[in-house]
């Protein structure tokens, strides 16, 4: 239940920042190459995930946000 919520929340946050309908995002699509994310959007996604789940993600983990699924994995790693 908690995990489903994280999946949905992260997908929604990313969709808002890259300006896409969450239903249209393939969770394994590459955010940069397929969905047009740039480095500033990546930082916005990171900040929004941190704010939503009240976590602090290491700067070294930022490059790991390559797909929606990787972002979800990252959020789950930090959310207790």
């Amino acid at each position: 239940m908690v995990e489903r919520t994280i999946d949905q929340e992260v997908t929604q946050l990313i969709a808002e920042i890259i300006e896409m309908d969450p239903a249209e995002i393939n969770p394994d699509a590459h955010l940069v190459e397929d969905l047009g994310m740039d480095s500033m959007m990546a930082l916005e996604i990171l900040a929004s995930i941190e704010k939503k789940f009240r976590i602090k993600v290491s700067e070294e983990d930022l490059p790991k946000i390559t797909t929606v699924n990787r972002a979800i994995e990252l959020a789950k790693k930090y959310v207790k």
């Binding site: 480095s39 500033m40 959007m41 930082l43 990171l46 900040a47 700067e59 930022l62």
Partner: protein, 154 residues
């Protein structure tokens, strides 16, 4: 961060010009009145009826363009970033995004008080908040992303 660990200082116009690359007619910061590295920067810009942009915006009624308020916020952000990463040399600061709400018109004669605080900082980029006040009134506020790109990568 406790007040004991924060160094507050001010910057005059010449010191600001040593930090930000903008020059006439694009300097939108006259003085920094509060500079707390990593915490906040507060700058001042005095607008006179002589500003170049009032010629065209608008000929019959001078109103400060929102784009120039964005520029004032971005320049204050560069000062913030520089104080955070003073060792960064030979970089160009690029505004990556800005989401801003303009709440009240700004007129010739107004003094802008621009405050920038961090949301999330990285080594070479940051998300920041910007608040612009005239007197006690907030005239614009928003969030913006700034990155420092080495000139060799541009």
């Amino acid at each position: 961060m406790s007040s004991e660990t924060v160094t507050t200082k001010t910057l005059d116009f010449e010191q600001i010009k040593r930090i930000i690359p903008q020059r006439f007619p694009f300097l939108m910061l006259d003085r920094v009145i509060i500079a707390e590295p990593g915490v906040r920067v507060v700058g001042i810009k005095n607008l006179t009826g002589n500003e170049w942009f009032y010629q065209g915006h608008f000929p019959k009624r001078a109103v400060t363009p929102g784009a120039m308020l964005c520029e004032a916020v971005a320049q204050t952000g560069i000062v913030f970033f520089h104080l955070q990463q003073p060792a960064a040399q030979d970089v160009t600061y690029l505004l990556g995004s800005i989401k801003i709400r303009f709440l009240h018109p700004v007129w010739p004669g107004d003094q802008l008080r621009i405050e920038v605080t961090p949301i999330r900082l990285m080594r070479d980029a940051g998300l920041l908040t910007g608040t612009v006040m005239v007197g006690e009134r907030v005239v614009a506020r928003g969030e913006f992303g700034l990155s420092a790109k080495p000139n060799s990568e541009l």
